[in-house]
Symmetry: C2
Subunit: 503 residues, 2 copies
């Protein structure tokens, strides 16, 4: 770290937040273990271990001593360099956010989450919203209170107060125009794509089986091609794929279907995008807030840039397909590049967000974003959710939802108290398109280098423009510096046109 003269208060804060970060890292490893290897009998002990670590780090985060140190450090802010000042800003943000809610409220809310989540599991299994209606209403009331309290501390509207925790600096007023732009564009575009794809006929699924071990070896090979550092990370299996661990030991997971290699392969490349971000965070700011990843939409932009912009492109497929064919001994029409691209570019109207393609996915997200804003604003009663969902679905995606399990009960988020998260998926998709366009503008040889399996120029550009910045800048500043412009729908739309419609 720099040798600039430091106020003691700032130094003490760094020491305190280093301890908080170490506790968070321990939690991350315990969480990975829980998802990837823990036997079921360990669950109770694990949740108590995690609760204890959380309680200790919460105590360090909200204590009066932390307030005093922040106040003292701010008095000497002119002594701090840009990174230190940004670190202090992030420290204060974390402290104020956590301090906005007293322990009694947090306990009450966490009980409501647990009740609602359990009811949701039954409701979804039986496709019966009424089972979860009451717990959802109670939980949502508490989330509204949380949003109001945090909003008061930061001078934010309630919805923005929630959004801000996933997307620091994110504001509905900025998101609305870009998502409205997409919402207006996509339904017509979708019609055109479906018509074009129908005219080309269906893709053929390559025939398996594709043994798990072989799929795993292939995934590891391509992770290495993308730049994943295996001295600082692993690939494992879990039911819900994720990217966890810590920056110097990033743990990504996937799950395998022995009848279909295509989904685990793209899943691994997606998580590798997340992992490259974590591995590229600024080494000299490890364990400080400013050294951590910026927010969910930048994080998602890194996975979607790798998966959607790069690895589903004809360039990557032309590099990867010979290796894939050789690995599985594939031959015949199903293994031709055109057919594999057809598979990877298949678009269709469907009910389930997590299975949706790149074109319809934003529509699933916009639907949720609009509904959750109305819920927080008190304009939509949770009791009316199924009806509102089905109407919006028909309008945006154009089909009738057959039941609530395939409708408003499909995602855990709201039933877990997570409102304000959904837009980050599509902000990430748009950011990915804008970043890849800028990277290719700066280095026009990137697409050609991908056909040779050379990711070095792209990765260096991402390291310099995104990964290495941690939380030094806001998301908007970061994007503007990297691409010359604030977030726009245009690069994403032109990406979709180029990929899904004829020239």
């Amino acid at each position: 770290m720099p040798d600039a003269p430091l106020s003691d208060a700032y130094h003490n804060l760094e020491a305190r937040f280093r301890r908080i970060a170490l506790l968070g890292e321990a939690e991350a490893v315990l969480h990975w273990d829980y998802a990837a290897v823990m036997p079921t009998g360990g669950a109770e002990a694990r949740s108590e271990q995690l609760a204890e670590l959380k309680a200790i780090s919460h105590g360090l985060l909200v204590g009066a001593e932390t307030s005093d140190l922040i106040a003292a450090a701010k008095q000497n802010i002119t002594n701090l360099d840009a990174w230190q000042a940004a670190n202090l800003r992030e420290i204060e943000r974390l402290h104020r956010r956590s301090s906005a809610l007293d322990e009694a409220f947090v306990t009450k809310q966490s009980r409501a989450v647990s009740t609602c989540e359990q009811a949701w599991r039954r409701a979804r299994a039986e496709s019966d919203f009424s089972i979860v209606a009451k717990p959802l209403e109670e939980l949502t009331e508490l989330v509204r209170e949380e949003a109001t309290r945090i909003g008061e501390v930061f001078g934010l509207d309630p919805y923005d107060a929630l959004l801000d925790s996933y997307e620091p600096g994110g504001r509905a007023a900025n998101i609305d125009p870009v998502l409205d732009d997409l919402a207006a564009y996509l339904p017509g575009f979708l019609e055109d794509v479906l018509e074009y794809q129908a005219s080309r006929g269906p893709a053929i699924m390559p025939e398996g089986p594709f043994p798990e071990e072989t799929q795993r070896a292939l995934g590891i090979r391509f992770m290495g091609v993308l730049g994943f550092d295996f001295e600082r990370g692993r690939l494992d299996v879990s039911h819900h794929p994720f990217c966890g661990g810590v920056p110097d030991d990033v743990r990504i997971t996937t799950r395998y279907d022995e009848n279909d290699f295509t989904s685990a392969l793209m899943g691994v490349l997606h998580e590798t995008g997340h992992a490259l971000y974590e591995q590229g965070l600024p080494q000299e700011w490890r364990l400080q807030p400013v050294g951590s990843a910026l927010g969910m939409s930048i994080h998602e932009s890194q996975s979607l840039l790798m998966e959607m912009q790069v690895c589903r492109s004809p360039q990557f497929i032309s590099f990867a397909l010979p290796i894939i064919r050789e690995t599985f001994g594939g031959s015949g029409p199903a293994w031709e590049p055109d057919n594999i691209l057809k598979l990877y570019h298949k678009v269709e109207r469907s009910y389930i967000r997590v299975d949706a393609d790149e074109v319809t996915y934003p529509l699933h997200v916009i639907l949720r974003y609009r509904l959750e804003k109305d819920i927080i604003a008190g304009k939509l009663a949770t009791n009316d959710l199924p009806e509102a969902w089905n109407a919006a679905f028909k309008e945006l995606i154009g089909i009738d939802v057959p039941d609530d399990a395939q409708g408003c009960l499909q995602d855990l988020h709201w039933y877990d108290g997570d409102l304000g998260y959904f837009p980050t998926y599509t902000l990430g998709a748009m950011t990915a398109a804008q970043l890849y366009q800028a990277a290719c503008a700066a280095h026009p040889d990137i697409p050609a280098s991908i056909t040779r399996g050379d990711f070095s120029v792209l990765l260096t550009w991402l390291r310099d423009n995104i990964h290495g910045n941690g939380r030094l800048l806001s998301g908007a500043e970061l994007l503007t510096r990297a691409t010359g412009r604030p977030l726009e729908a245009a690069p994403f739309k032109s990406h979709l046109k180029a990929r899904y419609l004829p020239d």
Copy 2:
């Protein structure tokens, strides 16, 4: 827990030690992860995570508040039931032990450990004791100081103060006679065994390869036979096999040699003995000191009872061999029961403790026990260690040590500051023999049930007499209750005679 009226102080202590235990459990999982799955790049972050957890739990353990609570709880000790009183006793023991050493001393010692360990790695690689002589002298001086300080707190001789941390209640004065008994008996016995085995000719090694996955599946099958609960534990791979994790999620590890299945198999059964102890600790005292395992010699007795007393017996081999043969498709003379027993009962004079057989192992331990007692008592200068080692080795085991790498440099323990640990291996072996003899006396059908692969009677006896007691009793009390006698060499000697000499 019981409903007896409780002093608030005792309750508060339980809450505090519950937190310490949860931090310890988190450490245990992080340690398993480190040994079994962590990539090398994660090492630095991991050691910082562990140091932070240790610092927090040390703070909870030694704080003045803990002293005050202990004093207050002791005033109301008559209100506590036997388990609570034993818990308070263990709490006080842990607190006093940790408080005996100030932070400056602990830091100094931990630096000396790290210096000495690094020097030892080079010294062993080059078989040159002089490389580590000075760091060992400095570290040993600090260990002597530690022993003296802790000894003063508990009114113990310095060596006993060290021994007591691995073996609560263990005293050299009690150990000396049983180990002297063995030391007098074994050299002559060893001569007889070697002569007898020479007359029978050598064993034949079954020919591999034995694929790792097949060995693993076999190990898992036998773990299940012994009673390992896979809902509460796992089997993995690590360079140094161990039993870790937490009682409701016990992680054992092994390593495989594809040319020789015999060693990993017995390794797994050995660790399973440790694991059964952990899984059988009293459920209602989870996370309290009285609910944890008693000490190293009882722990080792559980692994050696399973491995040496049971799984290397003709009864177990007659049950297991058909399964092993079928698993590997083995046939021919190498796969006959007599030959497999010959392999598993092979005795020889050798230099390396960890590779030693059941007959010579105690001699390796007695040598170390005597030398480390002299080192702590100041009777043996660490500079004179190689010479003293080689002389004692010749006397006890009867061969000349060729170099220090195969002599006094072979084990990490002393170079890591661990003096007082060695005797627990052989105390464990003797305890195992005494316990198995008592179990079979109580249930004479146990050996016959082992030939059917039925471990239920034995496991129930161990649960009742050992596992379920946690730290309620001292090691001596536990053994006396379970076997009717204090620890003696006789059962171990008669076990050796029965196994290694003709009837």
